[in-house]
């Protein structure tokens, strides 16, 4: 158990960090070492990237308000304007 040895919990955190920022030199070695011996975390790495990509696409899909709710907003807005 040297400083290069990390757990799956730590490895998954580093995998997530790596998607967003550059890891430190030590972290890169720790993760690389872990991934060579751990097929589960290798799987996690691929699935995590997949989820990030899909989540982004999904979140960018458009949601509309609907006429009924718009009317409600319009009514309240008119009431606010009349009151102020």
């Amino acid at each position: 158990m040297g400083m290069l040895h990390i757990t799956c919990k730590k490895a998954t955190l580093l995998i997530i960090k790596k998607e967003e920022k550059k890891l430190s030199w030590l972290e890169r070695w720790q993760l690389r070492g872990h991934l060579t011996i751990c097929s589960l975390c290798r799987k996690f790495e691929i699935q995590s990237a997949f989820i990030s990509r899909i989540a982004k696409e999904y979140l960018q899909s458009v949601h509309l308000l609907g006429e009924e709710k718009k009317e409600k907003i319009q009514e309240r807005f008119e009431a606010d304007r009349a009151g102020s």
């Binding site: 799956c8 589960l40 807005f77």
Partner: protein, 187 residues
């Protein structure tokens, strides 16, 4: 007097949908999103004398909405201490030695990860899995993937430390992955 260029009578019909479409994925709550849109119109109306015509009417309304969303995040950031104490959530995925448990280890999904899932069913599962996350995690997700904000900016908006942020993201990812695997791959 410059607000001859503002047209409040048309605000709701022209902008309610696009403001809502912007707010909803960022706050992950239809009621909150509707309220924010409503408040945006009201604040804009009250501030109409301050409108200098430098930005378009649409951009001006968006600026007001964005500020409201940030305020909303700030308020939620205060709840973070409470949600962070619930540490049992990540522990579930790993054993005492912090390695994957037999029950929660990642399985083969048997899909092409380069492609999209391209089924309606997948997206409805994704949505229900996302809803199972805590509201704060949902917001962090939205800020991260929608606004492409980096960790520093998200922490600033939420008033949380960077280690809190990574714990949140880590848990959210583990939960979302497990939920997708359980409901989509294994169904």
């Amino acid at each position: 007097m410059n607000y001859s260029v503002l047209n409040p009578d048309k605000w709701v019909s022209n902008y309610a949908d696009i403001l809502y479409a912007y707010a909803l994925p960022r706050v992950s709550d239809t009621v909150v999103a509707e309220d924010l849109v409503q408040e945006t119109f009201l604040s804009a109306w009250r501030a109409r004398d301050n409108y200098k015509g430098e930005a378009s009417e649409k951009n001006w309304l968006f600026t007001i909405l964005k500020n409201k969303i940030i305020d909303h995040y700030r308020k939620k950031g205060k709840d973070i201490v409470q949600s962070m104490s619930d540490s049992a959530i990540t522990e579930r995925f790993f054993d005492e030695a912090d390695h994957w448990t037999q029950d929660d280890k990642p399985l083969d999904w048997g899909i092409d990860y380069q492609q999209g899932p391209e089924t309606k069913e997948f997206y409805s599962i994704l949505e229900s899995c996302r809803k199972k996350l805590q509201k704060l995690q949902q917001s962090v997700f939205a800020m991260k993937y929608l606004d492409d904000l980096d960790a520093t900016e998200i922490c600033k908006a939420l008033g949380i430390t960077s280690s809190n942020y990574w714990v949140l993201i880590h848990r959210a990812k583990l939960q979302l992955r497990a939920c997708l695997e359980k409901n989509w791959i294994n169904s």
